[in-house]
Symmetry: C2
DNA sequence: TGTTAGCACTCAACTAAGAGGAGTGCTAAT
DNA sequence: ATTAGCACTCCTCTTAGTTGAGTGCTAACA
């Protein structure tokens, strides 16, 4: 167990390093107001903290830098909850000022404001489209051999897909089809309709319409393809500001990672509420070994869920980001639940 | 006017610099097979070419580097058309292998392949949605006070927008409205329907439906808002490979520029056919002073147009990129005109 | 007269050596 | 238990010197 003094010193070191990105020396700590001991005492404690694995040196005679274990301890035990500036709150509120109706716009704007306020990179996941329920299904023929299938969901999301019509497909065939699909599928969630389409609906359709088989197949792939939730980015190039990312290769790897949907998805903890922090190599991705990721979720309506991630250096201002995410999560949840019926 | 020998030397220098990104010296040129003069002769010619503004030195005793004027001359007069590798052609063809129906997928894939083949950044503009014609108009109510308006265009593009319903709006009101809109707007291009909506349709609607005014207004903004063509990127981080972009700030500025839609739009030459090359400061953007942009357009169906841009360093492999763009343009145009009726 | 060999000169890039300074660990005094 | 003092480490910056690629110019050559 750490002594009180060790806690105090560890905290001071991490705070200082987060602020200045420079190895911190004993003198610098002892100069702080809240610290009353001499540099020598601090050096002794530092040596102990290093032995315990909370601190590291960059070379024999350098100041100390928090290790990953040090950050982890800091985050778990030394992170006094902090209120945020009223100016920041105001700026967050401004997202909801213009009475935007569409979920997408609000989320996009949130991503930008979050990256601005934190000066890190933000990633916001929109609602999981798979959980939306079908409100209306329709097909618009474009020519003799092509048509667009459109699914409108209860949240106002519109999913659409072109497909080719089998030859000799008549308008009345199409109409029948649409009717059957609407009868059977309205109210189902998108993730369920795959099964339903193949299981029930296919047989029914085959009774009424020729060559429905092909059609259903393309419909299934259509609804499956766009399955991932939409992703919004803010401040993609913000890490260029961080001194630890003055290395082109690191930045590149992270930017590339952010273009890969599967990688981005795996940054999040789906279905876990609260705020999660992953520090350095706690991230599964090698590219992120110098980054920390703070994630949380927010609700959209009754059933839907979105997620937020902030990506910064391990030397991230955890206190501030956590506070901001907390406000953001609540505001988004509130905005999306009030005034939103089914 | 330049002598034959000067042309030959200028070409050799530009080619060499494009290849190795190093100032090129007289010796290096004279070693080339096609060059028969001694280094001393070349030095004399180089001095002349420098005086004429086609070459520059990085310092008094360095080799020569092409100036912007040099590149311009090279591009205008020394760019012998070049066939491309059959392997490259094959890779481009692979875009069209899987019988993708949707324009969007083909373009997305094209962006990736182009950036891969060039190792620069590619930007592809999809069809200009404004020129699409309305195929069907429909409205799907979500709740008592919200609905989604959907416009399907002749190309299978689907534009949609949520809006709030005025109170006391009945289902039959909605139906009337949709009918009127379809009667009046089908066949019009999206850019025309703004005017039409406000001019003709509004008055007709007002006769049949109460509080149509608000509705039309949100409809107008809906169709206007999403007006820009979709943009697809390939190889956003490819410039990290180029030695001239080892400067973080340059890269950052360009990446930021690419996030700004208006800036991206202004990279293109709309409505001009052929291949256009802008070198360094010929670009309007300050951020692009070290870049060259090569653009061209392709047709989508009879009326639509898309555009392609490749962004690289001024020391770009113009020959190859021009050749690739030419193939790409033709292949895309072909893919989008055959099998596509109205 | 056009071309080329030779040579002095320039300057970036690298290496080596030394000074300065921030910081440590240890010891001894308080 | 704390801290002042001091020797020591090692990064960082500066300076000086060396190397080598490349130039411009002049004079010789075909």
């Amino acid at each position: 167990m750490l002594t009180n003094r060790q806690l105090q010193i560890l905290q001071a070191i991490v705070d200082d390093f987060i602020m200045f990105a420079q190895p911190v020396g004993s003198r610098q700590i002892s100069n702080k107001q809240e610290i009353t001991f001499s540099p020598a005492t601090i050096r002794n404690e530092m040596a102990d903290l290093e032995e315990l694995g909370f601190l590291e040196k960059t070379h024999t005679s350098s100041g100390r830098v928090p290790s990953e274990k040090g950050y982890r301890f800091y985050v778990d035990h030394l992170l006094s909850p902090q209120g945020i500036n009223s100016r920041d709150i105001q700026q967050i509120q401004s997202i909801f000022n213009d009475r935007l109706v569409e979920v997408e716009h609000i989320i996009r704007k949130s991503a930008n404001i979050l990256s601005e306020l934190t000066s890190y990179t933000s990633i916001l996941l929109g609602p999981d489209v798979q959980r939306h329920r079908v409100k209306r299904f329709s097909i618009v023929p474009l020519s003799s051999d092509a048509a667009v299938a459109i699914i409108v969901t209860n949240n106002g999301h519109v999913e659409n897909r072109m497909f080719s019509l089998p030859p000799n497909f008549t308008a009345s065939d199409l109409e029948k089809m649409v009717n059957i699909l609407n009868e059977r599928l309205v109210g189902e969630s998108l993730e369920d309709i795959h099964k339903k389409l193949e299981a029930e609906v296919l047989t029914v359709l085959q009774q009424h319409v020729q060559s429905a088989d092909d059609f259903i197949r393309s419909l299934v792939t259509a609804t499956m393809h766009n399955s991932e939730s939409k992703v919004f980015y803010g401040g993609k190039t913000n890490m260029f500001n961080q001194p630890e990312f003055h290395d082109l290769n690191k930045v590149r790897m992270i930017l590339d990672l952010m273009e890969t949907t599967s990688q981005v998805q795996s940054l999040f903890h789906p279905n876990e509420s609260g705020i999660h922090i992953r520090i350095g190599s706690e991230n599964k991705q090698l590219e992120m070994e110098n980054c920390s990721v703070i994630t949380t979720t927010y609700s959209i309506g009754e059933e839907q869920q979105g997620a937020i991630a902030i990506i910064g250096p391990t030397r991230m201002d955890y206190k501030r980001v956590v506070a901001l995410l907390d406000v953001m999560r609540m505001d988004l949840t509130q905005a999306f639940t009030k005034n939103r019926s089914d």
